[in-house]
């Protein structure tokens, strides 16, 4: 077992973990952060996307020990003072989901995208979300939601 210390959604946590434990399993099973989901288990679908030290990563493709000392933000850490994050609000407003399984990852990647590029074109949104698969929507309303969030100044 290896001792890790990190900050998850603003709270300091420390645990002994097996080196082989994936970050997504650590978040879900040790911390109960089940908002972050396991989708494909092959690092293709992006459903497990979280932010590690300020950038988006697929948490099924990071070991918990690699996150030692780092700062993780999950979908559960986006809202502030009971207010949804503007990107969460935009996905609700534009109905950017159907079954909702890909949504945590889509939102986390969209937040990252808008941080880098606050006013993306439609093509830039589609490219920016290429690592996130949705099997329901055909991406139409997801792209609209990101455009809506960009219009609301979601990068702030």
């Amino acid at each position: 077992m290896v001792r890790i210390n990190l900050t998850v959604d603003g709270a300091k946590v420390a645990d002994d973990v097996e080196p082989r434990m994936l970050l997504v399993h650590y978040l879900r099973e040790k911390l109960g952060k089940t908002g972050t989901v396991v989708g494909c288990d092959t690092s293709n679908c992006g459903a497990c996307t979280v932010h590690l030290d300020g950038t988006s990563v697929k948490s099924c493709n990071v070991l918990a020990v690699q996150a030692d000392g780092g700062e993780v933000t999950t979908i559960e850490g986006l809202s502030q003072n009971g207010e949804l994050h503007p990107v969460q609000e935009a996905f609700r407003e534009c109905h950017g989901l159907q079954c909702g399984y890909c949504t945590p990852g889509m939102i986390m990647q969209s937040v990252d995208l808008l941080k880098e590029n606050p006013q993306p074109s439609e093509e830039e949104i589609r490219l920016g979300l290429e690592g996130n698969l949705c099997r329901c929507t055909g991406y139409h309303n997801i792209v609209k939601a990101v455009q809506h969030a960009a219009g609301q100044g979601a990068q702030a």
């Binding site: 080196p19 082989r20 399993h25 092959t42 690092s43 697929k58 493709n61 020990v65 690592g131």
Partner: protein, 286 residues
């Protein structure tokens, strides 16, 4: 999917990492960004007893100007290399290839040296580094040595890095002012290329003075399309001239056949993609 059990070390210097590697030998596996290794471990295609994580060695990260070359630390993430101004100015072919490498999350986490050491023939960095004549600096118990790109890629997932060595940096010879383009053919946006072509050209007054072309996934290693390079030298940067030269793109290749296409299909793709890559590169450099 969960990897088999392993022990874990996170050294903070290259010397510590080399000592760990010497101690654990072929039971050990080096972890760079992990974007290829972790899927392999999860699927249990490999089950090392020891994983040595290079992620906490600051000296392996960063990009610097070293006279005639831009030097990229092996543990520098793709995103950093892809947005670096030195790389864009002097080795634009690498910047172009990184633009469409995997997806944003993978580019944040995956590393330049890790991807090259993994040596996947469908990886996006082999062809551009080979085309630019990159030099690979590896460090072992006996010190460092430099391996030219032509000798670095040995076979499928196999490089010239010894079992007791670590890739520390990659030297990209400056190709300032060259036009560059990476033309990648995929079925699914963020997947590996079925075939891709990396082209850098030096255009002088509408004539292609020099061309360097690398092929991705046209054999067990990245390949230089030397026949095309020779045919292009001195030719006008026109559609007809480039098309004629690009017809040589599959010469000397040995592409795989798989669900995405058979070898003949890949040979055809190589000629088409080479034409597109060279024309785009020439336009950008002219």
């Amino acid at each position: 999917m969960i990897p088999a059990q392993f022990d874990y070390l996170a050294p903070t210097t290259v010397e510590e990492a080399l000592a760990a590697l010497a101690q654990h030998g072929d039971e050990a596996k080096i972890l760079a960004g992990g974007q290829s290794l972790l899927p392999v471990l999860r699927m249990r295609l490999n089950a090392p007893e020891m994983v040595i994580d290079l992620g906490r060695i600051p000296s392996l990260r960063g990009i610097r100007d070293d006279g005639d070359a831009v030097v990229v630390g092996a543990m520098t993430p793709h995103t950093v290399v892809g947005s670096d101004l030195l790389v864009a100015e002097h080795a634009a072919l690498v910047s172009k290839a990184i633009e469409h490498l995997a997806d944003a999350q993978i580019r944040h986490r995956g590393t330049f040296g890790g991807a090259l050491a993994h040596a996947d023939p469908a990886g996006d960095l082999g062809a551009p580094t080979l085309a630019l004549g990159a030099q690979f600096v590896v460090q072992g118990p006996g010190g460092t040595r430099t391996v030219p790109a032509e000798e670095f890629f040995v076979d499928l997932f196999e490089t010239a890095i010894g079992e007791d060595e670590i890739l520390t940096e990659v030297r990209l010879p400056k190709h300032t002012g060259w036009g560059a383009h990476y033309e990648k053919f995929v079925r699914v946006a963020h997947q590996w290329p079925i075939v891709a072509v990396a082209a850098a050209v030096r255009v002088e007054g509408g004539t292609i003075a020099e061309a360097r072309i690398g092929l991705t996934n046209m054999g067990s290693t990245p390949l230089r399309a030397r026949a095309v390079e020779e045919a292009l030298a001195g030719q006008p940067a026109t559609e007809d001239a480039v098309r004629a030269a690009a017809a040589h793109a599959a010469e000397g290749t040995n592409p795989p056949s798989d669900l995405n296409g058979d070898a003949d299909y890949r040979r055809h793709l190589a000629t088409v993609l080479t034409r597109r890559a060279v024309l785009t590169a020439a336009g950008a450099g002219g």
